[in-house]
Amino acid sequence: MLTKSRDKDKYLSIILITPSVLAVLIFVYGFIAWSVRVSVSKWKGLNPDYTFVGLQNYIDLFADPRFQLDIRNTLLFTAVFVIGTIVLGFFAAVLLDQGLKGENFFRSLYLFPMAISYIVTGVVWRWLMNPATGDRTSGLNLLFQFLHLDFLKNAWHTTPDWGIAAIAIPAIWQMSGYTMALYLAGLRAIPGELTEAAQIDGASSFQIYRYIILPLLSPVTLSALIILGHMSLKVFDLIISVAGKQYMLDVPAIYMWQTTFDGLFYGRGAAISILLLLSVAVLIIPYIRYTLKTETDQ
């Protein structure tokens, strides 16, 4: 009797989870397979054309100056964004961990940009990073002028070659609260005895942070690196809303969108999307395995 109802429950649990599993199977894995198929086809234009062309779209991409620029832009953006977000987030977390009054207030304040859409962030920063000069100077440049910090005035995202680094500023603004939260949770988990012992031994605050806290926080740093790194590979809406579709600020996600839906180069668009997926998968799959493994070990 008991086994019978157990069996019933077992089947019921499989039946209940099946719609979700099927949905993920089709809409994630099935669609990825479909994209792969498009990426090895010569589909160009409104009507699907699945004529097999092998890896031609991929080969063409690596020879394409626009895609080379995309890779370079992505790397530059990633470097500025990831380093900036981690450094600022860590700094904020350490400050908030000193037991000062008003800690909760500051923490909530640092984190609020996370609730906002990249589009909103981009539209506002588009005007903050206004490159106009002379009488028409505005935005942050005007603020710098007012503070007599004229040396900081710059052309932001319109700076030749380095514009993409300026796009990382609003991205840092938006995401550093997130690394702050990760680090703060990590700092709170460090047992007080460890640092107290070092203090008794005469270690300075700097030494404690450098030789005890930072190494203990390395799993947090690793998570932050992976999460932020995969986000920056996908960066899309923020650039669109700050600058629209500009060749100089192009990244793979924008190239894919434009070439597919504006240019109807479906084969090429799909190839970009699969390369994007592979670059993300290289980071994320080991991360998922590592996280689930540490979970079972505990």
Binding site: V24, L100, A185, L233, L277
Partner: protein, 275 residues
């Protein structure tokens, strides 16, 4: 860790960097607010940092006139998307955490990966599928957010249910409760905090989404993000109205954050698999 008993005034110096950081985060909000409340006559890019001389609502009124239908689109899209994906996530989480069948431990990472993929890699098939199935506009967007929301909602609930002691279920099983009974009478009543976390998370990410919206909707069904982006890209609508519109578009998730920040933070940490 606290730095070794510093003299109080020295500790107070820390408010300087804390305050500077706060200013950095507040700059965009400040600009949105002071611009929004200026009259059209007073608005000028070269005085954008000045406080308004008189409070006016010109910018908000024009922004609202432009944005209201799209904010409505966002709202009727986001609510079902958040609710449906949360319910699915709760069921999946329960089964994966407490009712493990043979391949449960394989299925979980398989679902989880879906949360990290660049959506470009499914975008062409998604658009083809939606068009072929004649699911366009807002229903299509709801479907996309429900399905691509399954990984994070499943993760959040699975981690929560996995943290509950197994004895809780065993006792109920001995009393003769079946699976659905256990879910309904034991787990669901204590799931409210996780539902809040997941609902806020899904509401915010669907409200803030741009990529799905831009390929699945047209100018009638645009949600607020696409409408705002097009406003900013057009030459017709001036920057001051864009600022006011940005604030309006940010307001619903911002209000949720202000009211329920604690739950928002939990969703955030869950999203990095650290919940």
């Amino acid at each position: 860790m606290k730095i070794a008993a510093p003299i109080q005034w020295k500790k107070n110096l820390l408010y300087i960097p804390l305050g500077l950081l706060a200013l950095f985060y507040l700059i965009p909000l400040y600009v949105m607010l002071v611009t929004g409340f200026k009259s059209f006559a007073e608005v000028d890019l070269t005085t954008m940092w000045n406080l308004p001389k008189t409070i006016a609502f010109d910018n908000f009124i024009e922004a609202f006139d432009n944005l209201a239908p799209h904010m409505w689109n966002s709202l009727i899209m986001v609510i079902p998307a958040a609710v449906i994906s949360s319910v699915l996530g709760s069921l999946n989480g329960f089964i994966l955490a407490k009712w493990k069948f043979k391949y449960a431990d394989l299925i979980f990472p398989f679902i989880l990966f879906g949360m990290f993929i660049p959506y470009q890699s499914i975008l062409i098939p998604l658009v083809q599928f939606m068009n072929a199935a004649h699911i366009t506009g807002i229903p299509g967007l709801i479907l996309a957010h429900v399905i691509y929301g399954i990984p994070i909602t499943t993760l959040t609930f699975r981690n929560y249910y996995a943290s509950l002691p197994q004895e809780l279920l065993e006792a109920a099983k001995i009393d003769g409760a079946d699976m659905l009974g256990i879910y309904w009478h034991i787990l669901l009543p204590i799931s409210a905090p996780s539902f809040v976390v997941v609902l806020i998370w899904q509401f915010t990410s669907a409200w803030n989404d741009f990529l799905f919206a831009v390929v699945l909707t047209n100018n009638k069904t645009w949600p607020v993000t696409v409408a705002l982006n097009n406003m900013a890209g057009s030459q017709i609508i001036s920057w001051n109205v864009q600022m006011a519109a940005s604030l309006l578009a940010a307001l619903p998730p911002l209000l949720l954050y202000i009211m329920l920040g604690k739950y928002f933070l939990r969703g955030l940490l869950a999203g990095s698999l650290k919940g």
